[in-house]
Amino acid sequence: MKVGDLSVYIDMSLLKPFSKLPALNAATILLVEREERFQQNLADALVGDTTVTVNVRLAKSLPLPMDNEESRPRIDLVVFIINLTSELSLKSAEASLKYLDPGYFLGKVCFLATNARNTSVPTERLDAMRKLAASLHCPLLFAEDQTPDGVNSATERLLTVLKVAAGLVPTATALYLSSLTRCTIPPDIDQPSFE
C-alpha cells in the first residue's frame, strides 16, 4: 500500500480535534463504551448542565460512521468508559485508540473505569488499565455506575475536564490540566513480588 493510500486511509476515518470551528459557549463530548449502559445515564446527566450547552455523542467503539460526519460537531473530549469486570471492554477500548488523531492525546482523551472495587477484577487487568492510561499521559478516573450519586459525581468531574478541554475555562488549557491529572504508575509495577 503506497504511503498515499495510507494517508487517505488514516485521514478518512480518523477523528480530528480541530477539523471544525467550535460553537459559541458549547462543548461536545464523545462517550465510547462497549456495553452501552453507563454512557446513557452519564449522557442524561451531562446534558442537564445549564452553564454550558453540552452535546453528547454516544458510540460503542471507534471508528465513527462516515455518513454523519458533516452533522457531527467538533468533539472536544473523548471519554473511554471501561467496565473492569469484562476483558472485552478493555480490549475494545484499546482497539479504538488508533482511530483518534494524535492531537487528541494532548489532554482531550480520558479514561473512566467502573467496577474497580469488584473483587472479580483480576489485578492484572487493573494494572493493564493503569499502564495504558499512563503510557498515553491521560487521566484515569474511577466511577461507581450503579448508584445515582456515582453517576452525578462522575458527571461533575467529566464536566470540569470537558470545559477545560473545550477551552471555556480562561485560565487553563487541556494540556496543562492533563499534565496535572494524568495517571502515573510506580516504577516497579511489573516486578512480581511473590517469587
Binding site: L30, R34, E35, E36, A43, D44, V47, T53, V54, N55, V56, R57, L58, A59, K60, L64, P65, N68, R72, L88
Partner: protein, 341 residues
C-alpha cells in the same frame, strides 16, 4: 375410602397449594357449590384433607374420581417434571381428518390390547389440546396411579408432548398413538424442558416472529425513545440492524420461556490459526459438551446479539433453536456448515 385412595388424595392435597386446589375443585363439575363452600382452605392441609375425604365418602366416590381430580389439577399447572417433545412422521392422507371421539376410542382400544391392566383417561383442554393420563399396570399388577404418564397431543398436528414415561412403556404408547392418528412413524424432536407451554409454543411457532419486510420494521419505531436533542447515538443504524437480526433469530416480545439448550460438539478443533497450529492440524474431534442455562434462554440470547456480546449475524447453531424447534444438538464435522471456520 380405601387407604390407597386416601394415600392418593393425600399426595394430591399435600403437593398442591391451597389456592390451586380450590381452583381445581371449582373446575371439577362433580362438586356441588354447597360442598365446595364447606371446605375451608385456610386451615392446615391435614384439616382440608379430612374434609375432602368426608365429601368423597359421602358421595361414595372411588379412586377413579380422585385420578380425575388429579388430572384436572395437572392440566392447570403442567410446568413441572420434564416434558419431552415427539414428532410423528409420514402421515397417511387421512391423518388430518382425525376427529376427537374417533381418536379417543381407537387410542383406548389399541393401548388396552397392548398392555393388559392400563387405565386411560382422555380430556380436551380449553386450547383444543388432548390430554391423556395413563396409569400403567401389567399382566400381574393393577394400574399404578402413583406414577401416571401424561401425554398432550394437538389433533391435526404431528406433535406429541410426554412426561414421566419410562423406556419400557414407550413402545406401547408409540404404537397406540400411531394406530389412532394415521401417522406411520414417530421421532424424538430433541426438545425437552420443564415448561410445557414453552416447548409447545416453540415447536408450534406460537410466538411473535420478526420477518424482513419492505416497510420500516416495527422494531425501530418501538425503541426510538424520545431522547434529548443534544444526545446523539453515532452507531444507531448498527444497533438497530443488530436488534433486527437478534429478533429475527430469537423472536420479538414475549418468547417461549425455554430454560436450557445443550450442544454435544464433535467437530475438529477450531482455535485461531496461528496460536494453536498443532491443534487445528489434529485429526480427531475436539469433544466438548456446551450447556446454556437461563430463566429465559431466548431472551438472554436476544440481548447477547443486540448488545454485541454475540456477533451478528447470529451463529446457525444458536438460531437453529428457533428454526428447528430443538434444544438438544449433536454437532459433527459435516453437521456444521464449512463456512463456520
Amino acid at each position: 375410602m380405601d387407604d390407597f385412595g386416601r394415600r392418593l388424595l393425600q399426595r394430591l392435597v399435600r403437593r398442591t397449594p391451597a389456592q390451586a386446589l380450590k381452583a381445581t375443585l371449582g373446575k371439577w363439575e362433580r362438586l356441588t357449590v354447597a360442598q365446595r363452600q364447606s371446605v375451608d382452605f385456610t386451615q392446615p392441609k391435614v384439616a382440608v384433607m379430612e374434609q375432602l375425604v368426608a365429601i368423597f365418602e359421602e358421595n361414595g366416590w372411588t379412586v377413579k374420581h380422585i385420578t380425575e381430580l388429579e388430572m384436572i389439577n395437572y392440566m392447570e399447572n403442567a410446568n413441572r417434571g420434564m416434558w419431552h417433545a415427539f414428532q410423528m412422521t409420514d402421515p397417511k392422507d387421512d391423518a388430518n381428518a382425525v376427529e376427537m371421539m374417533q381418536f379417543k376410542e381407537q387410542f383406548k382400544s389399541h393401548l388396552s390390547e397392548l398392555v393388559r391392566h392400563v387405565s386411560v383417561k382422555i380430556k380436551k383442554h380449553t386450547d383444543e389440546a388432548l390430554w391423556i393420563r395413563i396409569a400403567w399396570g401389567d399382566s400381574y399388577s393393577p394400574p399404578n396411579h402413583l406414577k401416571p404418564t401424561y401425554v398432550v397431543h394437538h389433533l391435526q398436528t404431528p406433535y406429541v408432548f410426554v412426561t414421566s414415561l419410562n423406556s419400557k412403556q414407550k413402545p406401547f404408547l408409540v404404537q397406540a398413538l400411531i394406530l389412532s392418528t394415521g401417522y406411520q412413524g414417530i421421532k424424538d424432536a430433541n426438545l425437552s424442558g420443564q415448561k410445557l407451554t414453552a416447548i409447545r409454543d416453540l415447536l408450534m411457532k406460537q410466538y411473535q416472529q420478526i420477518f424482513p419486510s419492505k416497510y420500516n420494521s416495527p422494531l425501530t419505531e418501538k425503541n426510538e425513545t424520545v431522547s434529548n436533542p443534544h444526545i446523539e447515538r453515532e452507531q444507531s443504524e448498527h444497533a438497530s440492524k443488530r436488534l433486527q437480526m437478534a429478533c429475527e433469530a430469537f423472536g420479538d416480545g414475549i418468547v417461549p420461556q425455554l430454560q436450557t439448550a445443550v450442544y454435544k460438539l464433535e467437530t475438529k478443533f477450531r482455535g485461531d490459526a496461528n496460536t494453536n497450529r498443532t491443534m487445528t492440524k489434529r485429526e480427531g474431534p475436539f469433544r466438548c459438551l456446551v450447556k446454556f442455562a437461563s430463566t429465559n434462554l431466548l431472551e438472554s440470547f436476544r440481548e447477547c446479539a443486540s448488545s454485541g456480546i454475540a456477533s451478528t449475524p447470529v451463529s446457525p447453531l444458536l438460531s437453529s433453536i428457533t428454526l428447528k424447534g430443538r434444544n438438544y444438538f449433536v454437532v459433527t464435522e459435516n453437521g456444521l456448515p464449512s463456512s463456520q471456520t
